[in-house]
């Protein structure tokens, strides 16, 4: 079957400040399993969301069954025969399987009454196709993740979908369940349904897909026939970019370990993680979204509880602690989401900057306005924070300057260790460089820095050592000298097997 089912041509999509898709083209044949891979931010989700009607393309064409198709919303996409199964699944846990399958499209008797008999019959038909052998009246919350995935597939089939997009379907499945899913995909393919399979697991893509398309930085790098390509070729396509940004890295004397984390465990999210960071060093944490890096840092800082493990700062052990204890021990934490966790948006630059250091800097519990001004203005100068004044409410600052305020507030506590979680995310190039320069400056004065970043060039450019995490584990460490993007990706992709 080599008839073309779908052709997306020259698709462009921009969001404020970011070009998510740049002249991307994708062609899908009938009855094929088409793999879609790329790093975080490559544009996979955006492309699929345009296809499923969640986003509107800025320009480009979609040709479906040889005819141009405009998709304005999810209903139109479903009506055309396009279905998407999200990684987080889109089911109502408190409703039954059959209710979920027909949600919004209930089989009815007349206008008002639900036709339960019909609903059950039809639900059974689709459940059979995917091998789901439980009663259709079972509540979704009583199903395993794998079974829930099957409900989603059944739902897609019930809409007579000719194209089903699966976004990371195996990320929460065991090996056995994955095998079952693969079989379902094979039988769907045999009956003429096209599947787009988004995954980071190369072994699965090699097992099930007919062709693979690689996206990188919003562009389509190419489409290959699976049988004719190798893993190395794919990695090269995913990652091969010139490192033309020069990262400000100074020669710094690296001292002894300031923070030691040993055998940290928390549920299934953090699994036996150990690492240490030394004074004057920048330790990069690489990994995919969901690898557990933020979770580890939140546990180290005392935001989230953990099951077991030791956290030692400068020789002193931190027991079950709260952020205030971590701050007192000398740790600072710039969180991933600066608006939700890093700042108090309604407050001013001054109030935000001084919040963690009030106890240390003020006498007798009373706040001295003059001292506050002093402290804030010092850091506004040092970090070149662009603000009309220290009384400006931070909600009015640009992203880059907001981030600088967050960093300023931690610098005011004179930390020994500074943890930065995605410090340059969503920030313009200029501010990015300034933050990198700041990090280098800090290391000169002996501060140890931990930097979580999903941008491999940044990790490689700034770090002295890199910890690669996947599935909650520390999967490997690389020194600055030996680290390359390919090696990091390789560790990640191999850990997934």
């Amino acid at each position: 079957m080599t008839e073309e089912l779908l052709s997306m041509q020259d698709i462009n999509k921009s969001f404020p400040g970011v070009k998510a898709l740049d002249h991307v083209s994708l062609s899908l044949l009938r009855g094929e399993v088409h793999g879609l891979i790329g790093e975080n931010g490559a544009g996979k989700s955006t492309l699929m969301k345009i296809l499923s009607g969640v986003y509107q393309k800025d320009s480009g064409q979609i040709v479906w069954h040889g005819k141009p198709l405009e998709i304005h919303n999810t209903k139109e996409a479903t009506a055309a025969g396009i279905s998407i199964i999200y990684q987080e699944l889109n089911l109502m846990p408190n409703l039954s399987i059959q209710e979920n399958v027909f949600l919004g499209r209930e089989r009815s008797k007349g206008k008002f009454l639900v036709d339960f008999k019909k609903t059950q019959e039809e639900a059974l038909k689709y459940m059979d196709m995917v091998g789901l052998k439980v009663p259709p009246s079972t509540l979704v919350k009583d199903l395993s993740i794998a079974q829930r995935q099957m409900v989603e597939v059944a739902k897609a089939l019930s809409t007579n979908a000719q194209l089903i997009v699966m976004d990371e379907p195996t990320s929460s499945l065991t090996d056995r369940e994955t095998e079952i899913l693969m079989n379902v995909i094979r039988s769907l393919r045999a009956s003429g349904v096209t599947i787009v399979f988004i995954s980071h697991r190369l072994n699965e893509l090699f097992e099930i897909s007919d062709r693979i398309t690689v996206l990188r930085d919003g562009s389509c790098i190419g489409t290959v026939v699976t049988k004719e390509c190798t893993e190395d070729q794919l990695i090269q396509m995913m990652v091969g970019r010139e490192l033309n940004d020069i990262y400000p890295k100074s020669k710094v004397e690296i001292g002894g370990p300031v923070l030691k984390v040993e055998h940290l465990n928390s549920g299934s999210v953090i699994r036996d993680v150990s690492f240490e960071v030394r004074s004057g060093e920048i330790l990069g944490f690489a990994g995919l979204v969901g690898a557990g890096r933020s979770e580890v840092m939140r546990a180290v800082f005392g935001i989230d509880p953990y099951d077991s493990g030791e956290i030692v700062v400068d020789g002193k052990k931190l027991g079950r602690h709260e952020p205030i204890d971590a701050i007192r021990a000398g740790i600072g934490f710039v969180p991933e989401d600066r608006k939700l966790m890093g700042l108090i948006l309604d407050m001013t630059v001054r109030e935000n900057t001084t919040l963690p250091c009030l106890r240390e800097e003020m006498h007798g519990g009373v706040i001295s306005r003059t001292r506050e001004k002093e402290i804030t203005e010092t850091y506004v100068r040092q970090l070149s924070i662009k603000t009309p004044g220290i009384e400006q409410h931070v909600v009015n600052l640009s992203g880059g300057n907001q981030q600088k305020v967050v960093i300023a507030k931690w610098l005011a506590t004179h930390p020994k260790v500074l943890i930065l979680d995605e410090p340059t995310r969503g920030i313009d190039v200029g501010a990015k460089k300034e933050i990198h320069a700041l990090m280098s400056e800090l290391t000169k004065s002996g501060v140890a820095i931990i930097m979580i970043s999903s941008e491999l060039p940044e990790v490689l450019g700034m770090s002295d050592r890199i910890v690669v995490m996947h599935g909650g584990r520390n999967c490997g460490e690389l020194t600055r000298a030996e680290a390359t993007q390919e090696k990091i990706m390789s560790i990640i992709l191999n850990a997934g097997n």
Binding site: F301, E322, I344, P356
Partner: protein
């Protein structure tokens, strides 16, 4: 218009009045007084009436001071009416029935308020119950305890030293008014100038962000609820002193006036903004409103309706303020 520029929260007292968002409601307050003077002349503007209005709203004002702190942290406490009654009853019991001196009796009453407030705080922070639900339950618990202690009977035969708190004068100003003004100044300074005050606003502005910045959120919340209990106790004891009777049925519905006063005063129910000045002016507006209805011979039943409508209007305007902010 940003409700809560830091300048308002901190600068000099008079500067803050003029520059702050409270200026708007102060104007409204004066406008109301003007209208009333035009409408009924001396009946409103006489010294006796004004003193009476002032004294009357002082009791609500003290409640509003406590409620303001709770609302700034993003919480709410509808049990204050019951704490009001319980504290009054305990103070009266201590003095009239257990023979303790006035200061000790009053202290016991205040302690009861503090402890009950702490209980509210503990439920919210440790058990993680939503404040509305917690105080809905504790409202009945406190009331029940008050009924049980008194057996339903009012407690009379209170000594003059006690009644002074409600009926007396300090420097020719009625004691309740003095109490309210002192408490307003102290708490206002506390909120605007101390580290803990800053933390209270921070918690209301962004609880998680505050926690990450080292604020002991749970501890501060418990303290705030406890202080609210103290305010409710002071108001309840002063009212019992004024009436010369400790009644377990006192204070019913007072939580609504307190909340309305705080919201009219500019605080947002979602936390992070508001101030004592606004809360007191809000209480004054409610007080003048009640007085107006009486002087204009509006039936007592309609008074209920009007007060209720004002409360809804106040919260609706608060929501509007927020929507505008978001744009």
């Amino acid at each position: 218009m940003n409700q809560n520029t830091a300048k308002n929260r901190e600068g000099g007292f008079f500067r803050s009045i003029v520059k702050s968002s409270s200026f708007g409601i102060i104007v409204i307050l004066f406008a109301m007084c003007l209208i009333m003077t035009i409408a009924v002349g001396d009946k409103f503007l006489s010294q006796s009436n004004l003193l009476s209005v002032f004294r009357q709203f002082s009791f609500y004002g003290i409640l509003a001071i406590g409620m303001c702190m709770v609302i700034i942290t993003g919480g709410i406490d509808i049990s204050v009416g019951s704490i009001f009654a319980l504290s009054g009853v305990i103070a009266c019991m201590a003095i009239a029935k257990w023979g303790l001196s006035t200061p000790i009796g009053v202290l016991l009453g205040i302690l009861a308020g503090a402890l009950f407030g702490y209980f509210n705080g503990a439920c919210v922070t440790v058990l993680k119950l939503p404040p509305m639900i917690t105080t809905l339950g504790s409202m009945s618990i406190a009331r029940g305890i008050a009924y049980t202690i008194t057996g339903g009977y009012p407690i009379g035969s209170l000594p003059d030293s006690f009644k002074f708190i409600g009926l007396g004068y300090i420097l020719n100003i009625p004691t309740p008014i003095v109490l309210m003004v002192i408490l307003a100044i102290v708490v206002s300074l506390f909120l605007r100038k101390t580290i803990i005050g800053r933390w209270i606003y921070a918690i209301g502005g962004n609880e998680e962000g505050s926690r990450i910045s080292g604020v002991r959120v749970d501890k501060i919340k418990r303290m705030v609820y406890s202080l609210n209990g103290v305010m409710a106790a002071v108001s309840g004891i002063a009212t019992a002193a004024r009436l010369g009777v400790g009644q377990s049925t006192a204070g019913q519905g007072y939580e609504m006036d307190a909340i309305a006063a705080v919201v009219i005063g500019g605080a947002s129910l979602s936390g992070g903004s508001g101030g004592i000045l606004g809360a007191v002016v809000g209480a004054a507006i409610m007080g003048v409103l009640r007085n107006a209805l009486v002087l204009l011979s509006v039936s007592a039943y309609w008074q209920q309706t009007v007060i209720g409508s004002v409360i809804i209007l106040a919260v609706a305007l608060d929501n509007l303020r927020h929507l505008k902010k978001k744009r």
